[in-house]
Symmetry: C2
Subunit: 194 residues, 2 copies
């Protein structure tokens, strides 16, 4: 087993890895980098972790249990379900924000800096379009005021989330049905004149 000092060292490695993963991505982060960042020799890595993947798994599992704890703590058992969903939602957003570096290595964009550019180069244009549409809708009184970028984020996020769920099989509905559902979903989320 590990002594107290051992646990600290291990944590140092975990921390260093989290920072590097989030800035350079998992694949591009070399074990040597992690060790250098933690100020130890490379061989030591394998004293604490079986493989690079092993460390990754540990990192992910740790964060997941913490996130679930945060969610559970935020949800009032006595409240109606919709309220609980809302509480869980807010708690998740806050938790993820407070642990950005841990969650950002799930972002595709960080996995390979080389691809990041290509991927990003178009999304900004698209984003601007949606922002403009939102602003226009606000001007027309169809949407409540507020930062258009927020609404635009919601719209684009919905599209990609639902599409993603369809792709990986978590959702299994006819395409046109899904499209209509997402259309409704977005429109409800946007509308002010309820």
């Amino acid at each position: 087993m590990h002594t107290e000092q051992g646990m600290e060292r291990k944590q140092q490695l975990l921390d260093a890895a989290a920072v590097l993963f989030s800035s350079k991505g998992y694949a591009t982060t070399r074990i040597a980098d992690i060790c250098a960042a933690a100020g130890v020799a490379k061989g030591l890595f394998y004293w604490y972790f079986p493989t690079k993947e092993g460390l990754f798994a540990e990192l992910v599992r740790t964060m997941r249990t913490q996130l679930r704890r945060a969610q559970a703590a935020a949800m009032d058992p006595g409240a109606p379900p919709l309220t609980r969903i809302r509480q869980g939602t807010e708690a998740s957003v806050i938790f993820m924000a407070e642990h950005r570096s841990y969650f950002s290595f799930l972002d595709v964009e960080r996995t390979d800096e080389a691809l990041a550019g290509v991927l990003r180069e178009g999304s900004d244009v698209y984003s601007d379009d949606v922002i403009k549409l939102v602003a226009e809708a606000q001007h027309a009184g169809q949407l409540p005021d507020g930062d258009p970028r927020m609404y635009a984020t919601g719209v684009m996020g919905s599209v990609s989330s639902f599409s993603h769920a369809l792709r990986n099989g978590r959702l299994d509905v006819p395409v046109y049905e899904l499209a209509a559902f997402v259309g409704d979903w977005v429109e409800r989320a946007l509308r002010s004149d309820n």
Copy 2:
């Protein structure tokens, strides 16, 4: 330049790459794999593309312009902004569904099969929880009926999209403000009793 035959060959390589990227992920797909799938020698790859990245970029740009075309075609210039947003949204979902294999290589999960397991192992449990809450809310008449998995997807997708936007700087608002916004967003999208 390329002869007609050359263009075909190039397209074969692009197609093969798209399929492989979507099933194995960009990083794990070897150039040799792409060539084998297309039935040509490895050296030929570099006759048509400068680097692996070059092919990737071409693939991404092609899909992006096609997606934008589909969006533009779906949006009625005369319609009010909210309607146009909805039209663009639905068109995007449909387009992405029709080109799953092209879009799925943006999914983190495919980038490295080794990590996929670790990443997935918890999300199912979490997903089940949200589904249960949604079902409960429907039972209580707080939500319209319909597949709870759809609503759950929307909730979880919102959390991750907004958090993602905050992480990469596309959004820059105080955390608690964002959390409240996402809470509102989700609640509006869910509610039936408008």
